[in-house]
């Protein structure tokens, strides 16, 4: 009898314990973060890392001053307040090293998922490793359109890619003809037509050139000059001569840093007078470019986050204040997107309520984060699950900034597109050289 009572007690105790064990949430959730912390892109790497770390800090603490859901709880609420732990690795811009680090993070560190990797080439190899092991990966900052065209089941991207950015450009040009730009009356289309494009001829620039060509056709613009050039070229005068000879209304560029500087200097020396000059980020958004001073006033560049966004989005301002405390300068395109990448991870985990890959996959495929929660000026985050692209955020958007002289005499970027969030009247036409 005593024996039966003992066994019954043990069984009862076990029955009580088993569900409790099964339901108990982990105390910490490990996310592997792979960024270029050394090498040529080290400066970008520092920003990316800081962006992710700030998002993790906000997720792990209660911060009443930040108007964001993840700032209201300490840790992931649906998992009993489990804290986010970042395991940060350096891929040095090397795709093979990135893949090796991803394997280590998955097998040795047992991470729940991965965030990274900035370089599209590294994101490509790392996401392939994640796909093989069935580990979720969220990418916040790689813009090669092909990444979400591989039908991957474990890869999601929050940032818009180059196709979207180029589409933004054409929406902007059309909006300009309809008088939607702040401070500019409707511009006749023939003033902007024809277009002349010069893109550097590696993977990135040549893809941008293709997008420009396709969208020009779709939006009814004539592309009179469509040039691919070597970024490491000692002279760009023949390219600029051809562009000027085409008498373009708008000149479009996809350039890295040195060639962007040489391009602007050559445009100036040849007295180019287009109405619009637009650059696809990269070389057009670097401190060295800003150092060109008055020569760049009026030039447009695409971006995803400009310091002037804080003027119209209080939440961005709140997060930016924390970032300034941490790094000594404003959030930028890299840090804001990395922040948003990790923030997406937190919301996905909150929705999944579990670290089970299948639950995370389901959460990613159904999540919808409203734009009001984000520091970047997007409609929100919602990933495509069917169609041409899989795992791409369909609610993202780019910005077009214009270099303008500010009150303190410094040259800074003001948002001119999307038109409804423009931070300053647009300077049109470009002053010409």
């Amino acid at each position: 009898m005593r024996k039966i009572a003992l066994v019954s007690a043990i069984v009862l105790l076990a029955a009580m314990l088993v569900p409790a064990m099964a339901w108990s949430a982990p105390k910490e959730i490990k996310i592997g973060v792979i960024y270029p912390l050394t090498g040529p892109a080290a400066a970008a790497g520092r920003e990316l890392r800081a962006g992710a770390e700030l998002a993790a800090e906000i997720a792990n603490k209660v911060m009443p001053n930040i108007n964001m859901d993840m700032a209201k709880n300490a840790g992931v609420k649906s998992m009993g307040g489990a804290k986010i732990t970042l395991i940060i690795k350096d891929h040095q811009g090397n795709p093979q090293l990135g893949a090796d680090l991803a394997k280590k993070l998955i097998k040795d560190d047992k991470v729940v998922g991965i965030l990274g990797c900035y370089h599209s080439s590294v994101t490509k190899t790392v996401s392939a490793v994640c796909e093989r092991y069935g580990v979720p990966m969220i990418n916040g900052s790689s813009t090669s359109p092909t990444l979400t065209k591989r039908d991957f089941k474990w890869f999601w991207r929050t940032t818009p890619h180059d196709k979207w950015f180029t589409k933004d450009l054409f929406e902007f040009l059309v909006g300009l003809t309809k008088g939607r730009a702040k401070g500019v009356k409707a511009v006749p289309k023939q003033d902007l037509n024809p277009l002349a494009a010069a893109c550097e001829k590696t993977e990135w620039g040549s893809n941008v050139a293709i997008e420009i060509k396709n969208f020009a056709k779709e939006y009814g613009f004539t592309l009179a000059s469509d040039i691919l050039y070597a970024a490491k070229s000692p002279d760009l005068s023949s390219e600029v001569q051809s562009m000027i000879a085409a008498k373009p209304g708008a000149m479009l560029f996809a350039s890295y840093t040195s060639d962007a500087l040489l391009m602007i200097k050559t445009l100036k020396s040849m007295k180019a007078k287009p109405k619009i000059i637009w650059g696809q980020d990269a070389g057009f958004d670097k401190p060295e470019f800003v150092a060109l001073g008055d020569d760049i006033v009026g030039i447009l560049t695409r971006s995803v986050f400009l310091p002037s966004v804080v003027k119209m989005k209080p939440l961005s301002g709140q997060v930016n204040d924390l970032y300034v405390k941490m790094m000594g300068h404003d959030l930028g395109g890299a840090s804001a997107r990395s922040f948003t990448g990790l923030q997406t991870w937190v919301y996905v985990l909150e929705k999944a309520g579990s670290t089970d890959p299948k639950a995370i996959q389901a959460a990613c495929n159904t999540i919808s984060i409203p734009g009001a929660q984000l520091v970047v000026p997007w409609v929100g985050i919602k990933f495509s699950t069917k169609g041409e692209e899989i795992g791409q955020n369909v609610l993202g958007g780019g910005l077009i900034g214009q270099y303008q002289k500010q009150k303190d005499g410094k040259i800074g970027l003001e948002v001119v597109y999307p038109f409804d969030i423009a931070t300053a009247p647009m300077v049109y036409p470009f002053q010409g050289y």
Binding site: P234, S238, Q241, K268, L292
Partner: protein
């Protein structure tokens, strides 16, 4: 058709100017090779040092970048002599391959030294007599002041070097050394001194070139490669060691890289819609190397070369 005519004029003028710039950069390379049969792979890095010299000393001395050119030339000459006595002299004892790897190593060393001290960011000069200025020389033909100045310097440098080599006793000694070093030694010529002098002249000419080019081009540790690829083609095309050859080949290359706008103008003037999009800009350097290849096959010593 009128547009085509103007474009041909524009391309010819800008080809001539750019060609003279290429020739200026190639001059030092051909002088060193002419005397010692050594290809200096670090030539572009000498150019980079000249660029940084002007970039750094101009604000430091509070003078216009153009006034620092003698200093850039001096730094180039000193660097050339240092390289000769510190490295090249020893390499001459070894086989040809040692000389190739030696100057290649020098290139990597100088570039990384610049990376260490100057960082990888491209830098530009913001103010100066030549910065941001251009000259209108004809109907729609605008030329960058820095390029025009570099072209003028190129002509002067070529004239001076030609005069020095052909009309002075020291120049004749250099020629004697390059033709037959052993024979020259028997005649009492210090070949060691002649070799060092060639490195000094080569270094000074490319140093001055760098000091002038930085008024327009951004400088970063890897900038040398942009120009040396062209400089090698220029020297090989003109004939290794030929001063006159470097000048002619430089101008020829200048013309070739300025062909694409003419092609575009032809397409526009005949309104060849079917051919539109057949841009040849991305192939402009391919054309340079195709001509180079052709001349190497037909005339291996180059246009004006005498050494094979």
């Amino acid at each position: 058709m009128e547009e085509l005519g103007i474009q041909i004029l524009k391309s010819a003028v800008s080809g001539l100017i750019m060609g003279l710039v290429f020739a200026l950069v190639a001059l030092g390379l051909t002088v060193i090779f002419g005397v010692m049969d050594i290809v200096n792979f670090a030539h572009g890095e000498f150019l980079m040092v000249g660029m940084y010299t002007t970039l750094l000393t101009s604000p430091l001395l509070g003078v216009d970048p153009v006034l620092t050119l003698p200093l850039a030339g001096l730094v180039g000459a000193v660097l050339g002599v240092m390289c000769y006595f510190g490295l090249i002299r020893f390499l001459l004892r070894g086989p040809m391959i040692a000389q190739l790897f030696g100057t290649f190593g020098l290139m990597i060393f100088l570039r990384n030294l610049a990376l260490l001290f100057m960082g990888s960011e491209p830098r530009i000069i913001h103010e100066g007599w030549l910065v941001g200025k251009s000259i209108l020389v004809g109907p729609g033909v605008v030329l960058e002041s820095t390029k025009v100045a570099a072209a003028a310097l190129s002509l002067i440098s070529f004239a001076v070097v030609w005069w020095f080599i052909n009309r002075t006793r020291v120049g004749k000694a250099i020629t004697a050394t390059s033709l037959d070093a052993e024979g020259a030694r028997y005649m009492g010529i210090s070949t060691e001194y002649m070799n060092a002098l060639a490195w000094a002249v080569g270094g000074a000419s490319v140093g001055v070139a760098g000091g002038l080019l930085v008024n327009f081009w951004p400088v970063e540790p890897g900038v040398g490669l942009l120009f040396t690829m062209i400089a090698f083609a220029t020297v090989a095309l003109g004939g290794f060691g030929s001063v006159r050859g470097a000048l002619v080949a430089g101008i020829l290359i200048g013309f070739i890289v300025n062909l694409p706008p003419v092609w575009d103008a032809i397409l526009r003037s005949i309104d060849a819609a079917g051919l539109r999009g057949m841009e040849i800009h991305s192939f402009k350097y391919t054309m340079v190397y195709a001509v180079y290849f052709l001349i190497m096959v037909l005339r291996p010593q180059g246009l004006f070369g005498w050494k094979q």
